[in-house]
């Protein structure tokens, strides 16, 4: 396989699964020209005049959609680890004897371990999306037929819109739908909040199948997915396990060390002058990312500061901010708990967003760069501030990118991470997989110290007299290495075999994931 060194010094393949690739050219250095993908023209006269697009089952819908070998089938991940539909979908495809499918999910979860048998028997050729947990292990060991492609949420929209990925059939899990195909995620027993990740799929796929376990008479409002883009509607008993779709409650971490990091984050945002009337921030669902919101809230209340909007991953904690008047809006990309779902259903200021509005790099702007501060995690950060979110230090794929790459464009990007986990250093010399270029990462906050990117002279100056433990990133690395017993060895990888590539937000290839040598 021919590998090229890209602009950030990583070796990436010139071709992936037979498709030519553009190596990463540097942040903001790649601006393609030409036209977007062109969805086919349809005519309403080809669809039932009474608006009833219901077919008897999923198999029937797939048949009508013209399913055949080698097609690209997309799913989305709002049902998270409660998703039964994707597994049923591939059981059905397998029963129809169809092979070599490119599976194009917006993310995968441990529940999709079920699909490993279809990767083994050739039903699925490869995955483009995320390869988490068992699927990550399978991929990294070189067992997948094709090469995996990891994209951010914004990158996924971009790839579809730019024609890099043509979806043949989109299968959209809809917690509520009408027979016309208007659908939303806020109502029904499988309510997931919103279903914005399926937006690109509904707009650009050749055929769109909406599958619901709550079919209601026309009209289904709000229509987060417009029925005018939908070909068939399938009714099923259950889309999955509601308790794993959204949690009953999301709880803040109890780990004293993570709480300490979260406290540092809030103090940093306050002291750097970011926390002021009308500001905005991004919060996720991870332990530390949830906890900093509580500490920030105390500071906002004490100083009488109100945010204009908060980007989520919404949880009850963000809902409380909204309901207590500490923010005007929640711009929600994905709803994590029941309180989030309720709020989105009832409160017009809890707004559903999509990767198009929030993250798409090839649009006329997006929300990501408007946000004042984003607090994110990482599995590894190196001394050049480059960070990894997809693989573990042993080389195994572990997580998807999610909106992480897209959020790096905020005015101040903070990675809140422990400096080491057990005996695994997080602050290291060089990341195993490079997912985010250091020039976009401003601050690293660990329990052992806070490193500000030397490029951010303004922040360094602002924090000069802070009581926070500001250190250089190399100081933190040295401390971690001395705790763990020296610099860690690199995993033994087969540098001739790329098992997956990581795309940057503009569609270029920023890094490769190599096969693990089993002798390890």
């Amino acid at each position: 396989m021919k590998l090229i060194k890209n602009a950030i010094g990583r070796l990436v393949p010139a071709q992936v699964n037979g498709q030519k690739q553009i190596p990463f050219k540097g942040v903001d250095k790649f601006k393609p020209s030409g036209s977007k993908a062109k969805p086919k023209i349809n005519s309403c006269i080809d669809f039932p005049e009474d608006g009833n697009k219901v077919v008897k089952n999923l198999k029937e819908a797939l048949k009508k959609a013209g399913l055949k070998d080698g097609m690209t089938i997309s799913t989305h991940h709002h049902l998270r680890n409660g998703d039964a539909l994707t597994n049923i979908l591939f059981d059905t495809i397998n029963s129809m004897g169809v092979k070599n499918i490119r599976w194009f999910p917006s993310a995968s979860f441990p529940i999709h371990e079920h699909l490993i048998k279809y990767l083994e028997d050739g039903t699925i050729h490869h995955i483009e999306g995320s390869m988490n947990g068992p699927l990550g292990r399978f991929t990294t060991e070189g067992k997948m037929k094709g090469i995996g492609i990891l994209r951010s949420h914004g990158g996924r929209y971009q790839a579809v819109q730019d024609g890099e990925v043509h979806i043949d059939i989109a299968v959209i899990a809809a917690p509520t739908s009408d027979p016309f195909g208007n659908a939303n995620g806020v109502n029904g027993k499988s309510a997931s909040g919103l279903i914005g990740f399926a937006l690109a799929d509904s707009e650009y796929a050749d055929k769109v199948i909406v599958v619901t376990d709550n079919l209601i008479p026309f009209p289904c409002v709000p229509w987060q997915i417009q029925g005018n883009n939908v070909d068939y509607v399938v009714q099923v008993d259950s889309l999955g396990d509601a308790s794993k779709i959204v949690s009953g409650t999301t709880e803040v971490t109890k780990s004293p060390d993570r709480l300490l990091i979260a406290e540092y984050v809030a103090q940093f945002i306050d002291e750097a002058g970011i926390m002021k009337n009308g500001f905005s921030f991004q919060a996720g669902s991870g332990g530390t990312n949830l906890a900093f919101v509580l500490y920030l809230k105390e500071r906002m209340k004490a100083k009488n500061v109100k945010a204009r909007f908060v980007r989520g991953g919404s949880t009850k904690y963000l809902v409380q901010l909204l309901e207590e008047g500490l923010t005007d809006y929640i711009l929600d990309g994905q709803t994590f708990d029941l309180e989030g779902v309720r709020s989105m259903r009832e409160n017009p200021n809890h707004v559903n967003t999509s990767p198009f509005t929030s993250y798409n790099f090839h649009g006329k702007g997006n929300f990501a760069s408007i946000v004042d501060v984003a607090v994110l995690g990482a599995t590894e950060v190196d001394v050049d501030f480059n960070a990894n979110v997809v693989s573990h230090s042993d080389g195994y794929l572990l997580h998807g990118i999610g909106g992480w790459q897209n959020c790096l464009y905020s005015k101040c990007t903070i990675l809140a991470v422990p400096s080491f986990r057990d005996r695994i250093p997080v602050i290291i010399d060089e990341v195993t997989t490079l997912c985010g270029p250091g020039e976009l990462i401003d601050v690293i906050i660990t329990e052992r110290g806070i490193a500000i990117n030397p490029k951010r002279k303004d922040l360094i100056k602002l924090m000069k007299d802070s009581s926070l433990p500001i250190k250089s990133i190399k100081q933190i690395r040295d401390e971690v290495y001395s705790i763990c017993g020296g610099a860690p060895s690199k995993p033994k990888l087969n540098r001739n075999k790329v098992v997956a590539v990581v795309k940057w937000v503009d569609g270029t290839v920023i890094d490769s994931v190599f096969q693990i040598n089993k002798t390890n």
Binding site: S393, R421, R423, S489, N520
Partner: protein, 399 residues
């Protein structure tokens, strides 16, 4: 070395284990050292683990053995403690100790008078809590060999605590160890005295002799190991008899720095229950404060055991401060800032103290003997208390 067994085990295993490891060793007659390493950090630290184990085998003179390691990310000081234990279990008479180099940041000393508002308890056999304990900035950490350690793990904890005192950076906080109840506690001393312990907590103290016994053994070990810095004692009173003897205990050694109380055992001894309002222990706690002050040392309160109830903790600190206590035990790092805040002088107290000290100094300059502030006379004890408040405010970063 004499050994009866050919096989032994040590350490922790299982899915829930973090930052620790498990060893099995079987002595063989030939074929050298065979290592079977299952480590979740193998790709990062596999070579370093092998090197450490081979070095330790050489140190202990083990030439032929099958060694199994199940490692869940144990740091080198933990692995060394577990391996030393597995060897010690084979050779009960072993009198060699394997030392990792001392972390230079740990070569600090302490003073008798330093602030002891908070002391954070760390179970002595739970290494995962050690590394970050100092980051939460308690005034002191306590590596506990007593009640938090199961009987069967007492030896394991001795080695782990010894290694922690040498290797773990506690970021300058005072380094305390709670030894076991005497006489067992005397055995603990050789694992801590040579390794820069600052304060030794003596549990279940009922007579001044116990303090003296500890002091004598500490002095013997200090001489033997050329330890020059001072080591202080904090007796813990946990019984009715101990309360009766409180002053004698508090004044038993010039190296006593504080006196404290353990209410779980004390209330059990009385045959009563701990309550939130604490009427049952009011007498005992007052005795502790009085005995400590009479002996010229600090009075330190018991722990607040509900880690989720921060408001309750705050109230209990305010109450402790009003009784005359200067510190409180913590069982969770999040309690530390609440305790510090509670013991710090309030801004009203500081303002008042400043006024008193300023008018006193002014009066002195003018040669006036009697000073008054508003309508109140200021005499010597008032000035002294005000000066102490200002000193405390400075130590609490509040002045």
């Amino acid at each position: 070395m004499k050994n009866i067994l050919t096989k032994s085990t040590a350490g922790k295993r299982g899915d829930n284990v973090r930052s620790d490891c498990y060893f099995e060793i079987e002595l063989t007659n030939s074929a050298g050292i065979k290592l079977d390493i299952k480590s979740k950090v193998a790709s990062m630290y596999g070579d370093s683990i092998k090197k450490q184990l081979n070095e330790m085998c050489k140190f202990f003179g083990i030439k032929n053995a099958n060694i199994l390691l199940e490692d869940n990310g144990a740091l080198p000081f933990v692995m060394a403690a577990r391996f030393e234990l597995v060897v010690k279990r084979l050779f009960p008479d072993l009198n060699k100790q394997f030392f990792l180099p001392v972390n230079k940041n740990n070569l600090t000393s302490t003073t008798k008078e330093r602030l002891r508002r908070s002391r954070l308890y760390l179970p002595g056999n739970e290494s995962k809590f050690f590394m970050n304990a100092g980051l939460h900035k308690p005034d002191g950490i306590i590596l506990d060999l007593e009640d938090s350690v199961a009987y069967s793990e007492k030896e394991a904890a001795q080695l782990l605590v010894r290694n922690a005192l040498r290797s773990v950076d506690f970021y300058g906080v005072e380094r305390m160890v709670r030894i076991n109840q005497l006489p067992r506690g005397l055995e603990d001393l050789k694992f801590i005295v040579p390794h820069n312990v600052h304060v030794i907590l003596i549990p279940k103290c009922e007579s001044p002799n116990q303090v003296i016994e500890v002091e004598n053994e500490v002095n013997r070990l200090k001489e033997e190991n050329h330890v020059e810095h001072e080591i202080y004692f904090m007796p813990i009173i946990e019984s009715a008899l101990g309360i009766i003897k409180a002053y004698e205990i508090a004044s038993a050694s010039k190296n006593n720095c504080a006196l404290t109380i353990g209410l779980e055992d004390y209330t059990a001894d009385l045959g009563t229950q701990r309550t939130i309002e604490g009427k049952e222990s009011f007498y005992a706690r007052s005795i502790i404060v009085n005995a400590a002050k009479a002996a010229g040392i600090q009075a330190i309160d018991t722990v607040f055991s509900d880690v989720a109830d921060m408001e309750g903790l705050k109230q209990s600190v305010i109450e402790a401060k009003s009784l005359g206590f200067e510190g409180k035990g913590c069982i969770h790092p999040r309690q530390v800032p609440v305790v510090h805040e509670g013991f710090a002088p309030t801004s009203e107290e500081i303002e008042k103290a400043k006024k008193i000290v300023l008018s006193f100094e002014e009066a002195e300059k003018k040669g006036i003997g009697v000073v008054s502030l508003g309508s109140k006379m200021i005499d010597a004890p008032v000035v002294k208390r005000a000066q102490k408040t200002i000193q405390l405010a400075i130590l609490n970063d509040k002045a």
